[in-house]
């Protein structure tokens, strides 16, 4: 079909709106959507995602006259893909299978995203995402696991989390407790508003709670309270998330001193309906509904009846507005940017919760293309993730000699700290290579992996990395000085190594197990000489070698 030029629709509000002075204007400005009426030309829809990424990344590199880093070694790419797609390093047996032959990356990606580890790892990653750094937020891991196992589209997950999905058909995966996302945050409506805006739409509007946003022109308090209003009808009834029909329209005191009525308004300026009951009738209706709810609560133990649902659900309205044609791009761009950040170590927009017009993307066309692709393909996250790790840019070396170029050029691969879950799984995998035999049938290997995972335990001293990551004090102290940890580290690996005939094989096996690659000649020399000195205490010698490998940054990072 040649190379047809496809245009992305300009923002529906267009330039006309720019000239008026209603909140609508702000919409485009606020969202950072392409407002320009002139068509923006993007690569065609049917190009593979990886190819599109490289097209746009390369173009900018050329423009900046930067020659990117060479491709990473195959063993590095294998390790990177294992960590990124299923949240752990390859076992020594798995890693060795790739040695000595050209890597078929597509095939490896395909096999990893179809393995159970993919759902588990994404459930972990999205659980962290949905917590939005609230340390005491409820874990939604069980729901997320089911959702990723069923490859549930992101828009459907959004509805699940808001508690507005259609009831599941019999046999469909249960969406149990997804709405805990809202329910457990009801006590703190401000945090709920902040988290929803930030996670799903890439815009942390907290600052607008008390005053106009200092950095975003036009982002006023109305937006914060407008978003918050969508949750104003929600309440907890017998542990369930329900909604009322009537609430008192809340006021907020604007910084200017005036008192303003709050009404539902999405971040684009789209408004939800408000009750049109006159004040007096509304007061009566609220009182009546409250009475009804109280009665139902009293009888609940016996009758098991819920108060009636409202005619219009405010949360449902939020989902409708957010996902309608005019607004859905914001929803798509946010998750694209967050996943990009995960795999490329730096967002197309930084920070990931400051996606607005005054903070544009480094590669606007790429972000638009990816968002459009996600929408076209019905918010299929597996497709997006598979595509993101399929580019040349993803598989570059993380080494750079000399002064590195700007991070938003993506000229080299990022060096990313492992998450606690990645670290823990990888530690267990590396620590017990004898569990996995080269000739295990696939189902036996899966079962063994599941066993290792179950016995994983947690490593609370490994910090969850965020975008301003620093390793906590506990970690280095524990890893170098905690008797129990030191005793456990290598306890299962040493007996395996001891069975091998010579130091050379031991060093090689240990390096495959921990670093997923063969030992270099220099490492053979260093460890060989060291083990030779420790011949009188061979276990102790091996323990020290294993400790050094586990504590090397090569293990600690996805590089």
């Amino acid at each position: 079909m040649g190379n047809p030029r496809v245009t992305i629709p300009s923002h529906p509000l267009g330039n006309f709106i720019m000239k008026t002075c209603s909140p609508w204007i702000i919409a485009g400005v606020l969202l950072g959507l392409p407002l320009d009426a002139t068509a923006q030309e993007l690569l065609p829809l049917d190009r593979p995602i990886g190819e599109v990424i490289d097209h746009y990344i390369d173009a900018k590199l050329q423009q900046a006259k930067v020659k990117p880093a060479p491709p990473a070694a195959d063993a590095t790419v294998v390790r990177r893909l294992y960590l990124d797609l299923i949240g752990r390093i390859p076992t020594a047996v798995e890693a060795r299978q790739f040695a000595g032959q050209p890597l078929d990356r597509g095939k490896l990606i395909e096999s990893l995203v179809s393995s159970p580890g993919f759902a588990r790892h994404n459930a972990n990653e999205f659980d962290v995402l949905l917590r939005n750094r609230n340390t005491d937020a409820t874990s939604l891991q069980p729901y997320l696991l089911e959702a990723f196992q069923a490859n549930r589209p992101w828009d459907a997950m959004f509805r699940d989390l808001l508690g507005v999905s259609e009831p599941a058909k019999p046999g469909a995966p249960a969406k149990a407790r997804a709405d805990d996302f809202v329910l457990k945050r009801l006590k703190d409506g401000d945090a709920l508003t902040r988290d929803v805006s930030s996670i799903f739409f890439g815009l942390n509007i907290t600052c607008a709670q008390c005053h106009r946003h200092p950095e975003i022109k036009g982002l006023t308090q109305d937006y914060f309270f407008g978003m918050k209003a969508f949750f104003g009808y929600s309440y907890e009834f017998q542990g369930r998330l329900l909604e009322r029909q009537y609430v008192k329209v809340a006021d907020f005191k604007a910084k200017t001193g005036e008192t303003r009525k709050v009404s539902m308004m999405f971040l684009s300026g789209t408004r939800g309906e408000v009750s049109d009951l006159p004040e007096r009738e509304l007061v009566a209706a609220i009182a009546e509904e409250t009475k009804l709810i109280q009665e139902k609560a009293k009888e609940y133990a016996k009758a098991k009846e819920l108060p009636p649902a409202p005619k219009h659900s405010a949360r449902k309205r939020l989902a409708e507005i957010a996902l309608d044609e005019a607004n859905r791009e914001m929803f798509a761009r946010s998750i694209v940017n967050r996943l990009w950040f995960r795999f490329y170590g730096y967002g197309l927009v930084m920070r990931v919760d400051q996606m607005h017009a005054e903070n544009g993307p480094s590669h606007p066309e790429l972000l638009n293309w990816l968002a459009r692709d996600l929408i076209t393909h019905k918010y299929d996250l597996k497709r997006l993730i598979t595509g993101l790790v399929g580019s040349r840019a993803y598989a570059r070396s993380s080494e750079w000699r000399g002064t590195p170029p700007a991070k938003d050029l993506f000229a080299f691969a990022p060096t990313r700290p492992l998450t606690p879950a990645q670290w823990g799984m990888s530690y267990h995998i590396a620590n017990q290579p004898d569990v996995f035999k080269p000739d295990d049938p696939a189902e036996v290997r899966l079962k063994k992996l599941a066993d290792v995972e179950r016995g994983g335990g947690t490593f609370p001293f490994v910090e969850q990395p965020f975008d301003d990551f620093q390793v906590g004090i506990d970690e280095p102290l524990k890893l170098s000085n905690d008797e129990n940890i030191l005793k456990a580290m290598g306890s299962k690996l040493i007996p395996v190594l001891r069975k091998l005939p010579d130091a050379r094989r031991q060093i090689d096996e240990a390096t495959w197990a921990v670093l997923s690659r063969p030992a270099t000649p220099e490492e053979h020399k260093l460890f060989g000489e060291y083990l030779d000195q420790r011949k009188d205490r061979p276990d102790e010698g091996l323990r020290q070698v294993i400790w050094a490998l586990f504590n090397s940054p090569e293990f600690r990072f996805n590089h």
Binding site: T403, K407, E463, F469, Q470, L479, T520, E522, N551
Partner: protein, 480 residues
Amino acid sequence: MLTITDARFAHGLASNRRDFLRIGSLCGLTLSGLLAAKAKAGAEKTVLRNKSVVFLFLHGGPPQIETFDPKRDVPENNRSCTGEVQTKLPGVWFGGTLPKLAQRADRVAVVRNFASRNGGHSALPVLTGGHRSGATVGAMCARGTGALSARTGLPMNTVVIPEAVMPGLRLGEPTDTFGLKTLERDFGAAGSLGGSYRGFVRNGSAQQLGNFTLTVPRDRFTERFQLLRQLDTLKHAGQAEGGSDLQQQAHDLLLRGVSDAFDLSKEDPKVVARYDTSHVFDMADYHEGGKHFVFQGKKLVDQARWSNQLGKELLLARRLCEAGCGFVTVVDSSWDFHGRGMNNPGTIVGMNTLGAQMDHAVAAFLDDVKDRGLSDQILLVVTGEMGRSPIKHKEDAGTDHWGNLTPLLVAGGGLKMGQVVGRSDRTGGRPAGEAYGPEHLLATVLHTVFDASTARTAPELLSPEVAGALLNNDPIKELF
């Protein structure tokens, strides 16, 4: 070798010439990262002013009138129930149980228009200054300075409670609000800044210091690190530059015995005696079985963490500051003088015990840091989560929660001392005119610890949260 090209890890180690870091060992990396900010301080432009903060938190809601703002021309039930004492500053009076502080009024500043605007026992509104991160000011400081002292490896954010200075001390468990769990959670809270900056709550256990004490044989430990360094060196082949100084510091942390800083037996006994407050009252009287534990047949359960160890706690705070710690929160519990049998004694008993102890301990601290020439290096803040209702009940001068006015004293840190900032209304119930709140206190501490004018021109030297909190709030202007 592994090259870290990401400023998140290289932060602080990066120099203008070389803004990337070659990482050595994990320990090298991690501690280097944590220690980085201080190291940078030595090297080039810095936002760090090398000050430490001691934040004495009188938990429970200390009275404003019986501490730093007594009213003299008011009805009896509004006057200080412990009398007043003339301070060294003309026309300025303190509550009657604070004679030692009164003599040193030229070395402190009291803020009489400070209101926490919070009438409950949560310490967080004052500690966080209302910052959205939910991080206490101590965690904020640690975020800006690095979580560990570059010089000694001590945690930069530490919380001291009575157990820290009295090994084996077993205090009772008051209701939730005042319980040890709440203290550990709130006073060290780092909110969304992340666990690295959480306050290290020194709870007195030997095991806890074990983290800082070498548990493995020294030769094995050094051998292991040697091996790791050699492994790194392999990867350093051909690369002369590296963060090796910092790696070395990191490695030394465990060999250096930082736990000594927590050990008061290493202190001159004469100094310990000057700080000691155990003579002010008998602790046993206020605990289960003691004569002041029961009021008209009712147990005063909320005074279960009542202690006479504040003097030593402040001494420990001074030791930690000397050893490089940037922020020490000292928690003194049971300042909730409701009286009338409401789980706590009234103001008269409270001020004659806890109040007198605070007077002695803070005075000893002021003298000690002055003698050591540290007055300008250490900022002392004394406040609580709120004040008390200005009108007292007849019986035992019991009072209620009061968020409209909160006592606040600051000393040292290079701020302007010997002054009274602002004033309260006639009854000592609210600020008269302009008022300060927790956000101003947060900014005051941050402006002491960080150089705002440098941060304004080079905000990248600080994390966005710290830079925002530093630059977006006004400090208490009279102090600067």
